[in-house]
């Protein structure tokens, strides 16, 4: 584990900017970043790498419920789901990413997928949203160990 000057946590080959939170519920690997009263949701580097190149993304919900799917993604003919870390309402979908889903693989922390207005501030305070580098590192190390066992 290594914490760099620009506050990016590096665990194995994966980077995790510490200016946002990471949702480990349902092993979702979704990041959450504040933007005014809303939050941006995107895919972390671990999921972007393990899923492979994304061919398609579709957002399937306007009203999000924490722990429920809000989008489908397809890579290598495998359709997977993205689970929302917060309950709230989608206020914007990133059309650039919908047009070119591979942006997510190229720059997972720039290529946000949806902008969401959380139902309340408490949505950003639950225990499955990780912000501390130690907690993120411990989770990702578990995930890497699983990959290595494969």
């Amino acid at each position: 584990m290594e914490l760099k000057a620009e506050q990016v946590l590096k665990v194995g080959e994966y980077e995790f900017p510490l200016d946002r939170l990471y949702y480990r519920g349902r092993n979702a690997h979704i990041w959450v970043k504040r933007e005014g009263e809303a939050v941006l949701l995107g895919i972390d580097a671990f999921l972007a790498e393990s899923a492979g190149y994304l061919n398609y993304i579709s957002v399937t919900a306007e009203e999000l419920t924490r722990g429920e799917a809000f989008a489908n993604i397809e890579s290598a003919k495998f359709v997977s789901k993205l689970y929302s870390p917060v309950s709230g309402r989608v206020v914007e979908v990133n059309s650039e990413v919908m047009e070119n889903p591979r942006l997510v693989n190229q720059s997972p922390y720039e290529a946000w997928i949806v902008k969401v207005k959380p139902r309340s501030e408490a949505e950003l305070g639950h225990e499955e949203l990780l912000g501390e580098s130690e907690a993120i590192a411990a989770w990702i190390e578990e995930e890497i160990a699983r990959l290595e066992e494969e």
């Binding site: 489908n72 290598a76 003919k77 495998f78 359709v79 789901k81 995930e143 699983r146 990959l147 494969e150």
Partner: protein, 332 residues
């Protein structure tokens, strides 16, 4: 808990799809082997029904289904043995990486082909090939909290019908698509002549047992049947079936082999892209062949810049030329 084996024989077209969706929703880890009594078309989650010749399907009474997993459009009939693998996403035996998932759960299928004397191998993303020809296609995805792999062993295949059920840009394209399918897809019938479907199924089950340990024989319980009927309402609803999908820009025949179409007003180009090169080209102006353009394109690397150069030199430059070059080059 042991993974269950559902050896279900012949099922109706819709039950052949609903069964693995229901097992996954109920979180029942299983290997399902079965066949369909009826001929039908199955779309991947992101395919559009606009890719189908719906009028033709209606006229022949061929239904279509949109599955909740990936992969492309497939024609399914009684001459195929389906296998569906349903595993919990967080189970120890379930790989996280998609590539590893395919390699692991397709290994029993490869072993089965090899027992039959065929040198099958895995070709990423998820084709199985014999001598470079596709012999099994697969799709996969997450349903509920289970990962599902669904594929089939082709006993035989109706290439003509497959090319007919698709909405394609003209008869020349359709004829080439059928030719390519015959060239690039093979079947047990073609490879072996005679074989026993029962023995193929037994070998497949045995190879899945090598992977999972002994499978626990199971049958459709009332709970599973109820879930299938519940899902039927969703999956056969017009809203689900007609959900818009991605715009198909080309026809994929097998991994690495595509048939593309470009229209520039009077000029139409059909190009087969094979492992990154143009292997077959048909260019016409008002229906008349354009041999000089065909010759320049044939064998060329399928890169946007190279194709754009050729088209610009051969035809008057326009926005359409750029779009045509992009269509022919595909993702390269």
């Amino acid at each position: 808990m042991a993974v269950k084996l559902f050896d279900l024989g012949f099922m109706s077209w819709k039950d052949s799809q609903l069964v693995y969706h229901a097992l996954a929703r109920l979180g029942i880890e299983a290997v399902v082997v079965q066949r369909t009594r009826d001929c039908y078309v199955s779309l991947g989650l992101f395919n559009s029904p606009q890719e189908l010749d719906l009028a033709y399907l209606r006229s022949r009474g061929i239904p279509y289904f949109r599955r909740e997993i990936g992969g492309g459009i497939v024609l399914l009939d009684r001459e195929q043995l389906f296998y569906h693998v349903v595993v919990h996403r967080s189970a120890e035996h379930t790989p996280v990486k998609t590539d590893t998932f395919y390699r692991k759960f397709l290994s029993p299928v490869i072993a089965t082909y090899r027992e039959l004397g065929l040198k099958a191998r895995y070709k990423p993303a998820n084709d199985l090939v014999v001598d470079g020809r596709k012999i099994s296609g697969n799709g996969a995805g997450l349903i509920g909290d289970c990962k599902v792999l669904s594929g089939s062993i082709l006993f035989d295949f109706n290439h003509a019908l497959m090319s007919r059920v698709l909405r394609l840009p003209g008869e020349t394209f359709r004829a080439r698509a059928e030719e390519l399918m015959r060239e690039r897809l093979t079947t047990l019938r073609e490879q072996l002549g005679e074989f026993s479907p029962q023995e193929v199924k037994q070998a497949l089950v045995g190879n899945f047992e090598e992977l999972f340990g002994e499978l626990e024989e199971a049958s459709i319980t009332p709970e599973i049947a109820r879930e299938m009927r519940r899902l039927e309402k969703k999956y056969l609803s017009q809203e689900w079936l007609n959900m818009p999908g991605r715009a198909a820009r080309e026809l994929k025949i097998a991994e690495g082999c595509y048939l593309a179409f470009a229209s520039l007003g009077e000029v139409e180009i059909i190009a087969e892209r094979n492992e990154g090169r143009l292997r077959w080209v048909r260019a016409t102006r008002r229906g008349e062949r354009m041999p000089a353009l065909e010759e320049r394109l044939l064998g060329e690397e399928a890169s946007y810049e190279k194709i754009l150069n050729i088209l610009t030199e051969s035809l008057e430059y326009s926005q359409d030329v750029e779009e045509a070059a992009r269509a022919i080059a595909g993702g390269n």
